[in-house]
Symmetry: C2
Subunit: 201 residues, 2 copies
Amino acid sequence: MAENHSLELLVQALRRLPGVGVKSAQRMAFHLLQHDREGALHLAQALQHACAEVKHCTLCHTFTEDEICPTCRDVRRDRSQLCVVENPADQSALERTGAYKGLYFVLMGKLSPLDGVGPRDIGLQKLFDRIDTLVDGAREVREVILATNFTAEGETTAHVIAQALKARGVNVTRLARGVPVGSELEYVDLGTIAHALVDRR
Amino acid sequence: MAENHSLELLVQALRRLPGVGVKSAQRMAFHLLQHDREGALHLAQALQHACAEVKHCTLCHTFTEDEICPTCRDVRRDRSQLCVVENPADQSALERTGAYKGLYFVLMGKLSPLDGVGPRDIGLQKLFDRIDTLVDGAREVREVILATNFTAEGETTAHVIAQALKARGVNVTRLARGVPVGSELEYVDLGTIAHALVDRR
């Protein structure tokens, strides 16, 4: 296929998608060209359109097509609570629960020292600036809920943010660790049970 | 994210790629928008370019940007042998061996009655027309080598083609089944060993 320049370029371009190796990229390219050219052109348009339209909300940093995202604009939301999540998918999971009525701050990443991702790369300063913003001479945000993932990186991120905010005298909470709803203790990992015991109420 | 129209459209468009579900599509969209907008635009261009440029070779049916692909144009190749493969990736694997100097016919699919893919869908008639083409009053193709995959569908495809070609009096062969190079018998599946025994030479 060395002579087939545009097919080769398409395979290379598809490999830039996360989780796509050379075999999958080839399979995708063959599939699109053989069975779904309409889908390929549709995808090309969607990519160009999204790159042109999608930017970050100036308040919460999530993806939005406006200057300020609809969640931050919503006057019915409680502006004294700020929930910190890693990415828009996590935010959307929290939203679907319907149990949270405050605002969000989307880090768009997580601290990962091993991969060279430090506080500057995920824009922690922007979060601190947001929290320090004064409305009528007082901080608008009264509680910061850390909802980063319960992975090593997510816990590190939560820890670093918590330290910085406590130094500022801000009230910081973390999502509860415990036994997932619907699970049988027998099959829950021991770390989770230990946390659930300590945090019992 | 219901309000985020272009992001939603991008996720939908990515889901049309084979093997990509809603979670992977979201991950891809977030990754491209957050870390690799250049790659996203690059992919959009590659898709449009490939859709505009890549067509099928009129002789062997593989993907090419020309009327006739470079392999079919190559005068040094043996025009009396025709190797039938399922897709360009298989063709490229055979090419990389350097052991075959004849021409190819790429089915761009395989018979799969359970999925409703019949002889017409993979254009078998085109293969038969190609084989029946007379040059100076005689068939140019003297041997058809069936190199479809050794899966259920590939074997069915090979069987159907073999039957049709034998009825035409064409010499048909199949890639040898046997023990893969470098393998220990102990770990080879029994069907393969049985075939290797029967086809011993």
